[in-house]
Amino acid sequence: MTTNPLVQFNSVTKRFGDFTAVNDVSFEIDRGEFVAIMGPSGCGKTTSLRMLAGLETPDGGDIIINGKRMNDVSAHERDTPLVWQSLALFPFLNVRANVEFGLKMRGMDATKRRIKSDEWLEKMEIAEFANRDISQLSGGQRQRVALARALVTEPELLLLDEPLSALDAHLVIRMQQVLTRLQKELGITFVYVTHSQSEAFAMADRVIIMGQGEIAQAGPSKDIYRAPRTRFVAEFVGRNNIIAGKVTKATNSLVHLEASFGPLTIQPSKERELKQDDAVEFAIAADFVNLHEAKPKAKAGTNVVPVTLISEEFVGSVVTLFLEAEDGSEFKTQIQERDLADIDLTSGRAFYLSWSADRTHLLEG
């Protein structure tokens, strides 16, 4: 499958003065893949995208697109249209002229341009706005113009730089559907840069997580969500509880730890052999942590911690509760709002948390 990737980064490095934005990064992207590059701001994700578009030149390593080394190919000679965070629509051109811009620059004559732009205005459902000025469009409509403008030249690779960050929440969901549908229909490769894990996980086949100019983890969305490799990824991708402890006994089926708030059991990892007294960190996703009003019965492989409630965060149908153990260790649990209907959530109230050891995930040391 990876014999003929569309995009290859081979040990690519980019510096701005003393700051290394991208540090010795290598990855491959296959034809027809929807890949999200995700990370906090300043992690090098946008710089990587700009290097793909030829807007930055790497200081080291090779960027290969379609088997051809692109390092010295200037931006206008590449076929790597970008959907900008600001959209960067031309305010002095109407919708149609914006869409036709790329075709005009490639020297296509006016009649053919018109046919092509009609086709794409139709496809993006903005044909009725063809003669409007950009200033007369809503945010969602502009988004569609930006997509039509980028896709009209029918590229093999589309780059997207946080294109949904300026939209309202309900429009974001709608545009995510538009994007995934488009990508499936066209069968072209999408490289999507974002800091939002919900956008990345909702759309991408594969996610590359970057931190401080390096790749922290790459893989299918679900793997990254359920099996973060490092503490950085576990903290970045979601509501994980990250717990530290010291190994007291390691068997093939269960590892016993001593944490600051008491003894625990976790699932052993195939990649990492543990010995007694090893210091470890593991993650347990907040939605795998159960809440109990009375102390649950002890079972092998189930961990129970007495806690007090600190606060709750209500987002739609899911509630996140923040709780504290006796020694001050903090926990999060995510629960469906309807399951909490009969429970008294006064802060300071005592509860018990439980989770199963086979839901835990050991992090790299």
């Binding site: 931006a75 960067a88 031309f90 000025d133 200033s135 980028a150």
Partner: protein, 269 residues
């Protein structure tokens, strides 16, 4: 109660203040305009009858036509040159970062801060040293130096309103640097460019001191006005003055309108 009173008083005071300023600015111009239609030779009250004789006298004077044509040529050439230089400077500032950029910009904006008479003397000294004084194009050179900073300031303001990714977006869509300049930067800056053309033309058309020093026998209209005034009382001056005033004001107002119309439209975006 008293604060309401105070506010009311302050409001009236400010209105009066603005009114007085307008009177000081426009009274001489209006007077000149009125006397340009007065049949009597001396500007006294009561006025004589309405007459266009001074305009007829001006229009039948070949010297006036010569000066007017010269002023027109000078202001058009100055406007074009100053706007090209101003655009180039503004674009360099927008696009590039380099050492001593602050000094570069300060230098580019320097000419209008030099006292006119010193500027005029220096121009005369320099141009005559290289054997180029007293020509029409020496006035053009001097006026271009004087007005290019205005063009630069206007265009720079416009470029600062531009989304920085716009130019890169053009490259990304297959435009080389020249095509991006032609299809993105120039159309975006167009209102400011037209505005700069009008304003630099107006400044050049009005400019007296520098023109008087370097023009030699090639008089522009403001120089001609001075010579008429120096000679004797001649109401033709009022007619020429009104003509110059109307041309300049038209250009300045056009410059304002072009710049504002575009900015307003985009603000609603």
């Amino acid at each position: 109660m008293s604060t309401v009173m105070n506010r009311q008083t302050l409001k009236w005071f400010l209105w009066a203040y603005v009114g007085v300023i307008f009177i000081f600015v426009f009274a001489p111009i209006v007077t000149s305009l009125i006397f340009s239609f007065n049949s009597q030779r001396f500007p006294t009250i009561p006025l004589g009858s309405f007459s266009t004789q001074w305009y007829e006298a001006v229009l039948s004077d070949p010297e006036f036509w010569e000066s007017a044509t010269r002023s027109l040529i000078v202001s058009v050439c100055t406007a074009v040159l100053a706007t090209i230089i101003g655009f180039a400077t503004a674009y360099t500032d927008f696009r590039y970062n380099f050492r001593f950029k602050g000094a570069y910009l300060a230098l580019a904006l320097l000419p209008p801060t030099i006292p006119l008479i010193i500027m005029a003397l220096a121009m005369l000294a320099w141009l005559s040293r290289i054997g180029a004084s007293g020509q029409v194009w020496s006035i053009i050179v001097a006026h271009t130096v004087l007005t290019a900073p205005f063009a630069m300031a206007i265009i720079r303001l416009r470029l600062s309103q531009m989304d920085e990714s716009l130019e890169a977006a053009a490259w990304n869509l297959g435009a080389n640097e020249w095509a991006a300049m032609r299809h993105v930067i120039l159309p975006f800056a167009k209102p400011a460019i037209i505005s700069a053309l009008c304003l630099t033309a107006a400044v050049s058309f009005d400019e007296f001191a520098v023109a008087w020093f370097v023009s030699g026998l090639n008089k522009t209209i403001p120089v001609m006005i001075l010579e008429i005034v120096q000679g004797n009382i001649d109401p033709r001056v009022n007619a020429i003055g009104s003509f110059v005033f109307i041309i300049s004001m038209t250009l300045v107002i056009a410059a304002q309108l072009f710049f504002m119309a575009k900015s307003n439209k985009e603000e609603t975006a």
